[in-house]
């Protein structure tokens, strides 16, 4: 969700049980303004919070000229100092998919994973054990890009593609017309079951919409059993 609407839109998604403390809200309102200026973003969204055992990650995304392709992700441990995350590549996502357990809250922590690779050079297929080290920072980047890819939504019509091929927010977007899943009286709230913690909100008939992730950053792979 856009950080400028944080002070009122956060209440709309608070039904999931996680909120930001007043201190954090105040800090974010300050630091994200500075962030927007430094990186020359056109828009900054507060993406959410990933819970770790020792500390939590606060995630923000800066948007440049294009809403979808020109996006940079930053993380912070104290809501004040922001660090740029590397863009998630396919190999990074594959590598990090083997890690289990909660995030620690230490971006430089190394996860060790022993991988067995088959070596077909000799007569017999030899199995070689390679220890792969994965930084938590990489895991974080992979998790965020996966969540964005698999679960993040916007209402139809909220974005528009210009003749130049860039995707912008649709200025004339006036809210979706009919929405079936009505809850919390007049706000539409969608929660992802695959990524528990992702909440999307939209006030019908207004351009206000957004999503936030507050959770452990772990995919709910047990979903098929749980429905």
């Amino acid at each position: 969700m856009d950080f400028r609407s944080l002070h009122f839109s956060l209440d709309l998604v608070a039904g999931s049980g996680l909120v930001l403390s007043p201190e954090q809200k105040a800090t974010l309102q300050t630091s994200l303004v500075i962030l927007k200026r430094h990186y020359k973003f056109t828009r900054v969204v507060f993406w959410g919070k990933i819970l770790g055992i020792k500390a939590d990650y606060y995630i923000a995304q800066g948007i440049g000229h294009d809403e979808i392709s020109d996006k940079k992700t930053l993380y912070s441990l104290n809501c004040m100092e922001w660090n740029l995350l590397p863009p998630a590549t396919k190999t990074m996502i594959d590598e990090t998919s083997v890690i289990k357990g909660c995030f620690l809250g230490d971006p430089s922590h190394d996860y060790e994973h022993i991988e067995t690779r088959k070596d077909e050079d000799g007569h017999e297929a030899q199995e070689e054990e390679i220890t792969v080290k994965i930084k938590e920072e990489q895991r974080l980047a992979a998790a965020i890009s996966l969540i964005d890819k698999e679960a993040a939504v916007v209402p139809r019509g909220a974005y528009i593609k210009t003749p130049h091929g860039l995707v912008h927010t649709n200025r004339s977007f006036e809210g979706s017309w009919s929405l079936q899943f009505e809850k919390c009286s007049s706000v539409l709230v969608l929660r992802s079951l695959l990524w528990c913690g992702l909440t999307f909100y939209h006030i019908p008939m207004t351009p206000q919409h957004g999503y936030i992730y507050m959770g452990t950053g772990l995919k709910n792979i047990d979903l098929p059993f749980m429905l």
Binding site: A14, G15, G17, L18, V19, P22, R171, E182, S185, M226
Partner: protein
């Protein structure tokens, strides 16, 4: 002449622009006039970029609904229904309550939810303020309608179609008779169901005797009484503040044991049947109740020293019975914040649930000695089959830091981390536990349903049903030869007899 021509062209063009569209009955001239009017009225920045939008806007605003002579359709929406329900909550109850009653100061069990929400918010846990206030009002409604001694906002459990707001209550003594009725009905219904099954079996056996099953169902673990163990408190749930509070059924050990093996999303409707692989004996209400008990037992903690064991319990008793009651320590003066950061200063104040599904172990062997062996094996795999050792969990008021040493209970319910954090933030003596989430235990490994039990033997294995190797050709020929020899010998004998008979004639 020239002027005339120009005028003509102008009027022609105007006439063209004024031509109404056959589809929308609008013309471009009026439309452009309206658009320009709007632009000049509002004078927005960079008009040229949003000209299309403006035009579209104006076209849309021209649309008028056909006037209908029929009555208005009653507008029914979920939001309206909910608002009607919550209106009761929010309207001041001046009408029916006389002033005398309001002045009367009764010690109310109503918790100050707003104050607690403030502390939770400092730690980043909580609901929006409006929602918290509505919950507060709903709890007030519950306290007013039921004779309660204690009432606590336990938490909120999210579901796929609706959520549950959970209140933990304790009745005043002697005011809970009526609750027994429903429970027994269920038990009886289950018994009846069992009877039908037996009768069916008997009938079938008369017609066509089937092999008898050697399976004996494990003895049913008796449920714990009110005010003890997992049934210490009674829980009420409602889906939205203002909707009626529904009391959850009492918990049986079977529910807890079954709930450990499954992982399902709540739907938000209490009567939904739970369809799961190890079958769950009950509907969503029972599952919800079991999860509440498991979460409470796993995560509810208090600062060390806040509670103490009652003094009337002698030292000797301690070894036999698990102490299950405690009282507030009147001398507790609070722990400094610096110490509260350490997990060893926090203790569990809800009893651990044993693998049997109860807080206090019950020896089933004493009841039915014949049934005991199979039953015990089924339920407690850790135990020797012949001699039941009592299951012992960590005693009450065990520090949280000792949890890690017990590998069996990785009790990281997904929000435990948060429990700790908010409490550290709370003021010295104030502490509270709350659960907000999906109601599932966190596990590092994926959930996989337990494998089905091994197939039971239908018949005792004996030589007549044991499979043997097929005979080889040589063996067959040898047998054939042997049979022919035998046959020849018999025929010879018969011939002899016939000859003798003929001789007799």
């Amino acid at each position: 002449m020239l002027n005339n021509q120009r005028d003509l062209a102008t009027s022609n063009a105007k006439a063209y622009l004024l031509k109404n569209s056959t589809k929308s009955n609008m013309n471009l001239y009026d439309h452009l006039a309206r658009v320009l009017n709007k632009v000049l009225d509002e004078r927005p920045e960079n008009v040229v970029d949003m000209f299309e939008d403006l035009s579209k806007d104006i076209k849309r605003s021209q649309f008028s609904k056909k006037m209908d002579t029929l009555r208005d359709e009653p507008e029914s929406s979920a939001a309206f229904d909910l608002a009607e329900i919550q209106k009761v909550l929010l309207s001041k109850g001046g009408a029916e309550g006389s002033e005398g009653q309001e002045v009367e100061l009764v010690e109310t069990p109503l918790p100050n939810v707003m104050e607690l929400a403030f502390y939770f918010e400092q730690a980043g846990v909580g609901l929006s303020r409006e929602e918290t206030y509505c919950i507060y009002l709903a709890l007030k409604q519950l306290v007013d309608s039921q004779p309660l001694q204690k009432c606590r906002f336990w938490g909120k459990i999210l579901g796929t179609q609706g959520n549950y707001i959970v209140a933990e209550v304790e009745y005043r003594e002697g005011e809970e008779e009526e609750e027994e009725g429903g429970e027994e009905d269920i038990d009886e219904a289950e018994k009846d169901y069992g009877k039908d099954d037996d009768e069916d079996k008997e009938r079938q056996e008369d017609l066509d005797p089937l092999p008898k099953s050697s399976y004996k169902s494990p003895p049913v673990v008796p449920k714990e009484d009110n005010h003890t163990g997992v049934n210490k408190f009674i829980y009420f749930v409602c889906s939205e503040p203002g909707k009626p509070w529904i009391k959850l059924p009492q918990l049986t050990p079977a529910h807890i044991v079954a709930a450990r093996d499954i992982k399902k999303f709540f739907t938000g409707h209490l009567d939904t049947p739970i369809v799961s692989c190890p079958p769950f004996p009950g509907n969503e209400a029972a599952y919800l109740r079991a999860q509440i008990a498991r979460i409470s037992a796993g995560t509810h903690i208090s600062p060390l020293g806040f509670y103490q064991f009652g003094e009337e319990e002698g030292e000797e008793e301690e070894e036999e019975a698990v102490r299950d009651s405690f009282e507030e320590n009147p001398d507790f003066e609070g722990t400094p914040i610096s110490e509260l950061v350490d997990t060893s200063t926090w203790v569990h104040h809800v009893q651990h649930i044993l693998p049997q599904g109860r807080c206090v172990w019950v020896n089933l062997a004493q009841k039915k000695e014949d049934d005991f062996e199979e039953g015990e094996e089924e339920e407690e795999k850790e135990e020797e089959p012949d001699e039941p050792e009592p299951e012992v969990g960590p005693p009450l008021l065990t520090p949280v830091s000792e949890d890690a040493g017990v590998p069996r209970k990785c009790k990281a319910f997904s929000h435990l981390g948060m429990f700790l954090r908010f409490q550290v933030n709370a003021v010295f003596i104030k502490f509270e536990n709350i659960y907000l989430g999906w109601g599932h235990k966190y596990s590092a490994e994926n959930y996989s349903p337990p494998a089905p039990a091994l197939l039971q033997q239908e018949y005792l294995s004996g030589p007549e049903i044991t499979e043997v190797d097929d005979p080889s050709v040589e063996e067959e020929q040898a047998l054939k030869a042997a049979l022919e020899e035998q046959k020849a010998a018999v025929e010879e004998m018969e011939d002899m007899e016939e000859e003798e008979e003929e001789e007799d004639d």
